[in-house]
């Protein structure tokens, strides 16, 4: 059971209030029609699926109903930080 801190509500809330949004910081291509099949498939389906530090989106479904990002360790499930969409994480695999 995860206890997730919503950076919008500023509260630690139960995992069941949230829905998972997958890997964060994936930029949608500005000109999809200009991409090759490989690039488009890569954007749609291929993920880092990292073992360790993972940046991911969460949606506060039964709270403020806003998206935010979390940095989580996918082995220990510890949430190291949560931050608002549009900002960058302070903890990354490189600086841990």
């Amino acid at each position: 059971m995860l206890l997730i801190h919503c950076p919008h509500c500023q509260e630690d809330r139960d995992e069941e209030e949230f829905s998972y949004g997958g890997e964060a910081h994936i930029v949608r291509p500005l000109e999809p029609e200009a991409l090759s099949d490989e690039e488009w498939g890569d954007y749609l389906f291929f993920r880092t699926n990292s073992r360790g530090i993972h940046h991911e989106m969460w949606y506060h479904l039964v709270g403020c109903r806003r998206y935010f990002n979390a940095t989580r360790n996918t082995v220990t499930y510890e949430i190291l930080e949560t931050y608002k969409t549009g900002t960058q994480p302070t903890i990354t695999g490189a600086n841990l």
């Binding site: 488009w40 498939g41 749609l44 699926n49 073992r51 996918t74 082995v75 220990t76 499930y77």
Partner: protein, 416 residues
């Protein structure tokens, strides 16, 4: 390999069962192999077995970081069926089911395959339309199945609650009589024993830490016990597939997530079939030991921790208690999680990669156990010939770029 038989049992009884041959050797790794299989679970061991048996390649090592069959092979709910919707998937799973039917004889090892039938319940009109469509598709593919009424379900599993007043009433089900269960450990052990007898080296407690390449081709693997050379490397590492792929600079479209299961205390025989329900996220059968074996849904988030969230198990238990009110008093004994590598289309990847001599068999998600024999069979063929087996061709990794996905999500009773 000494054959197991009634005679050998009798003979060994005379020496108090103290002189049985070891089931497999514990060899020191050689410097070089034709094929290295990374991952000693059911699929990896089956791959090694069929490489040796069908393709005559016996200079093989299976490298396992823990012990044989200690990952998802040991953690699943042992359900076997082949009633998938799409032609490609149903044919692959039915090949597997046909291999299951002769597996104990083939391996001279009792895998306790029990064709007790599988029910996939429908709880609303759309469920029933999907079930009818799927059963018709199955029959066109030569796979057994029928749509059954709530009354027939009650005959098959008398403890089930078919009241129209329940929260998710049972309106019918698909019934695949050839489906059933098998003993999970025995499958891994049987394949391990068979592969070992054919000369395959089973190397346990050795973790692959890198995949060495030269000029775009595989030359071997780095392990915790040093470098081992190989012309071909076949990776069958389930939840850790992305980690192993990254060692060779390959990206996979899989995400690793926790999937949980639990068993009750042993009780008297009360459920002699398998009951699954997608809508309420629960599946249940009873093991030969008497435990009720219950599978839950997959957690929504990525994780490698081999445990999941409590509310997922709680929802499953709620569903099971609604389906089987009598089980509300049964005490649960153990709960655990495994890491499943889920694909966007809920179908596996059995494929060559951009690296010459590197092959991946992964992405089985929540339903890999049933496919163990077929998966090993077609993957061995793919590795041996450096060309996809006809039944594996559609499961090439290219499909995520061409768009030729095989969308089994929800379509085929895939619990998710």
């Amino acid at each position: 390999m000494k054959k197991y038989s009634a005679f050998s049992l009798l003979k060994n009884a005379l020496s108090y069962h103290e002189n049985w041959q070891k089931v497999w050797r514990s060899p020191t790794p050689k410097k070089d192999y034709d094929v290295i299989v990374v991952g000693g679970g059911g699929h990896g061991l089956a791959t090694a077995y069929y490489l040796a048996k069908v393709h005559g390649i016996t200079n093989i090592a299976v490298i396992e970081k823990g012990y044989l069959g200690g990952g998802n092979t040991a953690r699943n709910t042992t359900i076997i069926r082949s009633n998938y919707l799409w032609d490609e998937a149903s044919q692959l799973y039915d090949l597997s089911l046909k291999l299951w039917e002769g597996l104990s004889q083939e391996l001279n090892y009792n895998v306790m395959f029990s064709q007790r039938g599988v029910l996939n319940l429908g709880h609303n009109l759309q469920d029933m339309r999907d079930i009818e469509r799927r059963v018709n598709a199955n029959r066109l593919n030569g796979i057994d199945g029928e749509v059954v009424s709530p009354e027939r379900i009650k005959e098959i599993a008398p403890l089930i609650n078919i009241s129209r007043n329940s929260r998710y009433p049972i309106l019918g089900a698909s019934w695949q009589p050839r489906g059933g269960t098998a003993r999970h450990d025995a499958v891994a052990w049987g394949y391990a024993r068979g592969a070992d007898a054919l000369g395959v080296d089973l190397i346990q407690q050795t973790e692959v830490t890198g995949i060495r390449r030269k000029d775009g081709a595989v030359v071997g693997v780095e392990t915790t016990h040093g470098f081992i050379g190989a012309r071909k490397v076949a990776c069958v590492t389930a939840g850790n597939s992305s980690v192993v792929a990254a060692m060779a600079g390959v990206r996979l479209p899989v995400e690793s997530r926790p999937l949980q299961a639990l068993v009750s205390e042993p009780v008297k025989p009360c459920l002699d079939t398998v009951v699954m329900s997608n809508a309420v996220h629960g599946y249940i059968s009873q093991s030969d030991k008497g435990d009720l074996v219950i599978g839950a849904g997959v957690d929504s988030y990525n994780g490698y921790g081999q445990r999941g969230s409590f509310h997922v198990v709680e929802h499953t238990i709620q569903a099971i208690c609604e389906l089987f009110p009598a089980f509300s008093r049964v005490r649960m004994n153990r709960q655990w999680g495994g890491i499943v590598d889920t694909c966007p289309d809920a179908c596996p990847i059995i494929s060559k990669t951009s690296v010459q001599g590197l092959y991946f068999n992964c992405g089985w998600g929540t339903g890999g156990f049933k496919a163990t024999p077929g998966s090993g069979y077609v993957f061995a063929d793919t590795v041996a010939n450096d060309h996809p087996h006809p039944l594996a061709a559609a499961f090439n990794i290219d499909r995520f770029n061409t768009g030729a996905l095989i969308d089994e999500h929800g379509a085929a009773g895939v619990a998710h």
